[in-house]
Subunit: 141 residues, 2 copies
Protein backbone atom coordinates (compact mmCIF):
# COMPACT_ATOMS: atom_id res chain seq x y z
CA UNK A 1 0.00 0.00 0.00
CA UNK A 2 1.42 3.35 -1.06
CA UNK A 3 0.65 6.35 1.10
CA UNK A 4 1.90 9.91 1.40
CA UNK A 5 2.41 9.73 5.16
CA UNK A 6 2.46 7.47 8.20
CA UNK A 7 0.62 8.51 11.33
CA UNK A 8 1.47 6.63 14.52
CA UNK A 9 -1.04 7.19 17.32
CA UNK A 10 0.16 6.27 20.79
CA UNK A 11 -1.87 5.97 23.96
CA UNK A 12 0.47 5.88 26.96
CA UNK A 13 -0.87 5.06 30.44
CA UNK A 14 0.79 4.90 33.83
CA UNK A 15 3.36 7.49 32.81
CA UNK A 16 5.87 9.47 34.84
CA UNK A 17 7.11 13.05 34.23
CA UNK A 18 3.84 14.20 32.70
CA UNK A 19 4.09 17.62 34.37
CA UNK A 20 7.53 18.38 33.03
CA UNK A 21 8.04 20.92 30.27
CA UNK A 22 11.67 19.83 30.09
CA UNK A 23 10.73 16.18 29.57
CA UNK A 24 8.35 17.03 26.74
CA UNK A 25 10.90 19.25 25.03
CA UNK A 26 13.72 16.74 25.42
CA UNK A 27 11.55 13.85 24.26
CA UNK A 28 10.50 15.77 21.14
CA UNK A 29 14.10 16.71 20.32
CA UNK A 30 15.26 13.11 20.72
CA UNK A 31 12.32 11.85 18.64
CA UNK A 32 13.34 14.28 15.87
CA UNK A 33 16.86 12.87 16.04
CA UNK A 34 15.63 9.26 16.17
CA UNK A 35 13.42 9.78 13.12
CA UNK A 36 16.10 11.82 11.30
CA UNK A 37 13.55 14.46 10.35
CA UNK A 38 14.05 18.22 9.94
CA UNK A 39 12.91 20.34 12.87
CA UNK A 40 11.27 23.63 11.89
CA UNK A 41 9.72 24.69 15.18
CA UNK A 42 9.25 23.35 18.69
CA UNK A 43 6.98 24.69 21.42
CA UNK A 44 5.95 23.35 24.80
CA UNK A 45 2.93 24.79 26.59
CA UNK A 46 2.34 24.05 30.27
CA UNK A 47 -1.23 24.19 31.50
CA UNK A 48 -2.84 25.20 34.74
CA UNK A 49 -3.50 23.31 36.92
CA UNK A 50 -1.78 20.38 35.25
CA UNK A 51 -0.69 19.07 31.87
CA UNK A 52 1.67 19.88 29.05
CA UNK A 53 1.34 20.14 25.28
CA UNK A 54 4.49 19.77 23.21
CA UNK A 55 4.54 20.23 19.45
CA UNK A 56 7.40 19.76 17.02
CA UNK A 57 6.74 20.92 13.46
CA UNK A 58 9.03 19.08 11.09
CA UNK A 59 9.41 19.30 7.32
CA UNK A 60 7.90 15.81 7.23
CA UNK A 61 4.72 16.85 9.18
CA UNK A 62 4.49 16.93 13.03
CA UNK A 63 5.11 15.27 16.38
CA UNK A 64 2.72 16.04 19.25
CA UNK A 65 2.64 15.16 22.94
CA UNK A 66 -0.36 16.04 25.13
CA UNK A 67 -0.24 14.97 28.79
CA UNK A 68 -2.94 14.57 31.45
CA UNK A 69 -1.05 13.90 34.68
CA UNK A 70 -4.32 13.47 36.59
CA UNK A 71 -4.92 10.34 34.49
CA UNK A 72 -1.28 9.24 34.16
CA UNK A 73 -1.95 9.53 30.44
CA UNK A 74 -0.18 10.95 27.40
CA UNK A 75 -1.52 11.12 23.84
CA UNK A 76 1.26 11.12 21.25
CA UNK A 77 1.11 11.58 17.49
CA UNK A 78 3.99 10.87 15.15
CA UNK A 79 2.96 12.00 11.68
CA UNK A 80 5.70 11.80 9.06
CA UNK A 81 6.04 11.71 5.29
CA UNK A 82 9.28 10.38 3.94
CA UNK A 83 11.00 9.91 7.31
CA UNK A 84 13.87 7.52 6.69
CA UNK A 85 13.88 5.75 10.05
CA UNK A 86 11.69 3.23 11.83
CA UNK A 87 9.17 5.05 14.06
CA UNK A 88 9.87 2.42 16.73
CA UNK A 89 13.01 4.39 17.58
CA UNK A 90 10.82 7.36 18.49
CA UNK A 91 8.61 5.12 20.62
CA UNK A 92 11.71 3.97 22.47
CA UNK A 93 12.53 7.62 23.23
CA UNK A 94 9.06 8.07 24.72
CA UNK A 95 9.40 4.90 26.82
CA UNK A 96 12.67 6.20 28.26
CA UNK A 97 11.27 9.61 29.19
CA UNK A 98 7.77 8.66 30.37
CA UNK A 99 8.22 5.04 31.55
CA UNK A 100 4.62 4.11 30.63
CA UNK A 101 3.11 1.00 32.19
CA UNK A 102 1.00 0.39 29.09
CA UNK A 103 1.29 1.65 25.51
CA UNK A 104 -1.39 1.30 22.86
CA UNK A 105 -0.29 1.96 19.28
CA UNK A 106 -2.09 2.33 15.98
CA UNK A 107 -0.68 3.22 12.58
CA UNK A 108 -2.77 4.99 9.97
CA UNK A 109 -1.72 5.49 6.37
CA UNK A 110 -2.40 9.11 5.49
CA UNK A 111 -2.98 9.96 1.85
CA UNK A 112 -3.50 6.44 0.56
CA UNK A 113 -2.50 6.64 -3.09
CA UNK A 114 -3.49 3.22 -4.38
CA UNK A 115 -7.12 2.97 -3.36
CA UNK A 116 -9.30 1.97 -6.33
CA UNK A 117 -10.95 5.36 -6.69
CA UNK A 118 -7.68 7.22 -6.68
CA UNK A 119 -6.04 7.77 -10.02
CA UNK A 120 -2.45 6.62 -9.85
CA UNK A 121 -0.27 8.97 -11.85
CA UNK A 122 3.40 9.51 -12.45
CA UNK A 123 3.36 11.82 -9.44
CA UNK A 124 3.55 8.72 -7.25
CA UNK A 125 7.29 8.88 -7.56
CA UNK A 126 7.30 12.12 -5.59
CA UNK A 127 5.57 10.81 -2.51
CA UNK A 128 8.61 9.85 -0.48
CA UNK A 129 10.55 13.03 -1.02
CA UNK A 130 10.56 15.00 2.23
CA UNK A 131 9.46 18.53 1.80
CA UNK A 132 12.24 21.05 2.21
CA UNK A 133 12.46 23.95 4.59
CA UNK A 134 9.96 26.81 4.51
CA UNK A 135 10.51 29.44 1.86
CA UNK A 136 9.26 32.22 4.12
CA UNK A 137 9.01 32.94 7.84
CA UNK A 138 6.07 31.39 9.62
CA UNK A 139 3.03 33.49 10.33
CA UNK A 140 2.17 33.94 13.98
CA UNK A 141 -1.08 34.41 15.81
CA UNK B 1 -17.64 5.27 26.17
CA UNK B 2 -15.83 7.93 28.17
CA UNK B 3 -12.66 9.38 26.74
CA UNK B 4 -10.39 12.32 27.51
CA UNK B 5 -10.32 13.56 23.93
CA UNK B 6 -11.79 13.21 20.46
CA UNK B 7 -9.50 12.99 17.47
CA UNK B 8 -11.07 13.52 14.06
CA UNK B 9 -8.86 12.44 11.17
CA UNK B 10 -9.81 13.80 7.77
CA UNK B 11 -8.52 12.77 4.38
CA UNK B 12 -9.48 15.39 1.79
CA UNK B 13 -8.95 14.73 -1.92
CA UNK B 14 -9.53 16.85 -4.99
CA UNK B 15 -8.97 20.05 -3.03
CA UNK B 16 -8.46 23.61 -4.14
CA UNK B 17 -6.29 26.31 -2.51
CA UNK B 18 -3.73 23.84 -1.19
CA UNK B 19 -0.84 26.22 -1.92
CA UNK B 20 -2.30 29.11 0.01
CA UNK B 21 -0.85 30.16 3.37
CA UNK B 22 -3.78 32.52 3.77
CA UNK B 23 -6.34 29.77 3.23
CA UNK B 24 -4.69 27.54 5.84
CA UNK B 25 -4.52 30.35 8.37
CA UNK B 26 -8.08 31.47 7.75
CA UNK B 27 -9.42 27.92 7.87
CA UNK B 28 -7.68 27.27 11.18
CA UNK B 29 -9.01 30.50 12.69
CA UNK B 30 -12.55 29.71 11.57
CA UNK B 31 -12.24 26.13 12.87
CA UNK B 32 -11.18 27.54 16.25
CA UNK B 33 -14.27 29.75 16.23
CA UNK B 34 -16.53 26.92 15.04
CA UNK B 35 -15.30 24.62 17.80
CA UNK B 36 -15.34 27.41 20.40
CA UNK B 37 -11.89 26.44 21.62
CA UNK B 38 -9.14 28.67 23.01
CA UNK B 39 -6.36 29.56 20.57
CA UNK B 40 -2.88 29.65 22.09
CA UNK B 41 -0.71 29.74 19.01
CA UNK B 42 -1.08 29.52 15.25
CA UNK B 43 1.64 29.03 12.65
CA UNK B 44 1.56 28.33 8.94
CA UNK B 45 4.66 27.03 7.16
CA UNK B 46 4.88 27.07 3.37
CA UNK B 47 7.15 24.50 1.74
CA UNK B 48 9.28 24.51 -1.34
CA UNK B 49 8.42 23.53 -3.99
CA UNK B 50 4.81 23.04 -2.87
CA UNK B 51 2.68 22.43 0.19
CA UNK B 52 1.65 24.08 3.42
CA UNK B 53 1.55 23.01 7.05
CA UNK B 54 -0.78 24.90 9.39
CA UNK B 55 -0.93 24.23 13.11
CA UNK B 56 -3.23 25.76 15.72
CA UNK B 57 -2.39 24.92 19.31
CA UNK B 58 -5.49 25.27 21.44
CA UNK B 59 -6.03 24.76 25.17
CA UNK B 60 -8.07 21.72 24.19
CA UNK B 61 -5.19 20.12 22.13
CA UNK B 62 -4.49 20.92 18.46
CA UNK B 63 -5.74 21.41 14.90
CA UNK B 64 -3.42 20.54 12.02
CA UNK B 65 -3.59 20.94 8.24
CA UNK B 66 -0.92 19.48 5.95
CA UNK B 67 -1.35 19.93 2.20
CA UNK B 68 0.18 18.16 -0.81
CA UNK B 69 -1.00 20.17 -3.83
CA UNK B 70 0.71 17.74 -6.21
CA UNK B 71 -1.82 15.12 -5.06
CA UNK B 72 -4.78 17.45 -4.51
CA UNK B 73 -4.67 16.14 -0.96
CA UNK B 74 -4.89 17.57 2.55
CA UNK B 75 -4.48 15.67 5.83
CA UNK B 76 -6.38 17.32 8.68
CA UNK B 77 -6.41 16.49 12.38
CA UNK B 78 -8.91 17.92 14.84
CA UNK B 79 -7.88 16.80 18.32
CA UNK B 80 -9.91 18.30 21.14
CA UNK B 81 -10.68 17.60 24.78
CA UNK B 82 -13.73 19.25 26.18
CA UNK B 83 -14.62 21.25 23.09
CA UNK B 84 -18.26 22.26 23.48
CA UNK B 85 -19.28 22.18 19.81
CA UNK B 86 -19.91 19.53 17.20
CA UNK B 87 -16.71 18.94 15.16
CA UNK B 88 -18.89 18.82 12.05
CA UNK B 89 -18.91 22.60 12.13
CA UNK B 90 -15.14 22.57 11.70
CA UNK B 91 -15.45 20.12 8.81
CA UNK B 92 -17.88 22.53 7.17
CA UNK B 93 -15.23 25.27 7.44
CA UNK B 94 -12.74 23.02 5.65
CA UNK B 95 -15.25 22.19 2.91
CA UNK B 96 -15.80 25.90 2.30
CA UNK B 97 -12.09 26.72 2.04
CA UNK B 98 -10.78 23.66 0.21
CA UNK B 99 -13.84 22.46 -1.77
CA UNK B 100 -12.73 18.80 -1.60
CA UNK B 101 -14.25 16.35 -4.08
CA UNK B 102 -13.99 13.53 -1.52
CA UNK B 103 -13.58 13.53 2.26
CA UNK B 104 -12.75 10.50 4.36
CA UNK B 105 -13.29 10.87 8.10
CA UNK B 106 -12.45 8.75 11.12
CA UNK B 107 -12.96 9.53 14.79
CA UNK B 108 -10.69 8.06 17.45
CA UNK B 109 -11.34 8.29 21.16
CA UNK B 110 -8.11 9.36 22.82
CA UNK B 111 -7.58 8.43 26.44
CA UNK B 112 -10.36 5.89 26.74
CA UNK B 113 -11.23 5.90 30.44
CA UNK B 114 -13.67 3.02 30.70
CA UNK B 115 -11.72 0.15 29.20
CA UNK B 116 -11.76 -2.88 31.50
CA UNK B 117 -8.10 -2.61 32.49
CA UNK B 118 -8.38 1.05 33.36
CA UNK B 119 -9.30 1.83 36.93
CA UNK B 120 -12.21 4.22 36.97
CA UNK B 121 -11.71 6.73 39.74
CA UNK B 122 -13.37 9.90 40.94
CA UNK B 123 -11.05 11.77 38.60
CA UNK B 124 -13.39 10.87 35.78
CA UNK B 125 -15.38 13.95 36.60
CA UNK B 126 -12.45 16.11 35.52
CA UNK B 127 -12.18 14.79 32.02
CA UNK B 128 -14.40 17.28 30.24
CA UNK B 129 -12.92 20.40 31.78
CA UNK B 130 -10.88 22.19 29.14
CA UNK B 131 -7.43 23.04 30.28
CA UNK B 132 -6.88 26.72 30.86
CA UNK B 133 -4.31 28.99 29.32
CA UNK B 134 -0.60 28.39 29.81
CA UNK B 135 0.91 29.54 33.06
CA UNK B 136 4.19 30.52 31.40
CA UNK B 137 5.42 31.59 27.99
CA UNK B 138 6.02 28.82 25.50
CA UNK B 139 9.53 27.58 24.96
CA UNK B 140 10.86 28.01 21.48
CA UNK B 141 13.31 26.01 19.43
Amino acid sequence: MKAIGRHIILEMWGCQNLESVQTAEQALREMVDALDVNLLDLHVYPFSPVGVTGMAIVSESHLAIHTWPEHGYAAVDIFTCGAPRDPQDAVDVLRRHYAPERVGAMEINRGQLDLPQHEVSSERTREHRPRSRPRAPALSA
